[in-house]
Symmetry: C2
Subunit: 189 residues, 2 copies
């Protein structure tokens, strides 16, 4: 997606430790016009797939998921990181490790909003090692729902997540894949 | 907003301690069609006010803010609850107390995304005692920007937030104001 790649080149800031910040348009300030282009691009790539619901994870995934959902005309569910008042038998729950934050968190979704046989599209901002994606897939599997595919805004192609998901024949669509990056520049695949 | 009130009556669940859960369409699963009606309603109520940007707070405010922003054609900034890598002189920061969670948290916005003289509309899901609203107003004031108004989806009219904000002549628009609620029912103002 050319407009997204241009924006990443213009505003993305690369930090040591494989970190790229896109706070100016995606993760802190949100460019809603660009987000609409992103939503349309996901719809184009998944329009021939049955999608009942979009699943994402708070907080950064929410904006992308709801704007995209307008094109699919389906509801969004976001997995919660905060402790919920639900009892264990009322929710699907899994652990997700963040290498960036060096922290493992429990995330959960109410059983009311992720149901057997639903066809679920996962949408998220970043794909690095794939920990969040595999965690969300685990929630969908626990619910006996189907993984319709995964839409990612920015894939770090030099980390393992994309390779792991493609090896499992998951329909993965990343709108921008970064092949390599350092303080001098960003190269897309 | 009648459609919203109907949805609250149909799906809202009242718990002891002045808590109402609307997880089925706003705070966990998101009804994007209803959210569009909410966004349009905010636009109707603020369309004669100069708005440069919408400010909200993660996580529940994000979906409402981005859908609304499409009508205003402005960017969204969300205040972050998580610790950021920014140094103190790079961010505006304030404390917000949650009575529901009985917890005070620091929230912050990068100085890059909240600037002098900008006209800022605050959007959030709930207004109870007004702690989040006053916290966001504090961030705007620190940035020497203007508070254009506050748009709230559900105001708990029996708590003090609305009264406090109206006493300060803030342009507050709440799409549904709950006058009273208990396990037996919900009454709107």
């Amino acid at each position: 997606m050319d407009k997204l790649k241009e924006k990443i080149l213009k505003e993305g800031i690369v930090y040591p430790g494989n970190i790229i910040k896109v706070d100016g348009f995606l993760n802190h300030q949100i460019d809603v016009e660009l987000l609409n282009e992103i939503g349309k691009a996901f719809y184009d790539r998944f329009k021939d797939t049955k999608i009942d619901k979009i699943l994402t994870i708070e907080a950064s995934g929410i904006a992308i998921a709801v704007i995209s959902a307008q094109y699919f005309k389906v509801p969004v569910v976001f997995a919660k990181k905060s402790e919920s008042k639900l009892t264990l038998d009322q929710q699907w729950s899994t652990s997700i490790h963040s290498y960036t934050k060096d922290k493992t968190s429990r995330v959960q979704v109410s059983k009311s909003y992720l149901r057997e046989n639903e066809s679920i599209l996962i949408i998220d901002d970043f794909l690095a090692n794939g920990e969040a994606a595999f965690g969300l897939m685990d929630l969908i599997t626990q619910a006996k729902a189907h993984i319709a595919g995964i839409g990612i805004v920015i894939e770090k192609g030099f980390q393992e997540g994309g390779k792991r998901l493609r090896a499992e024949n998951i329909h993965l669509e990343s709108l921008a894949i970064i092949e390599s990056m350092d303080e001098k520049g960003i190269i897309f695949r």
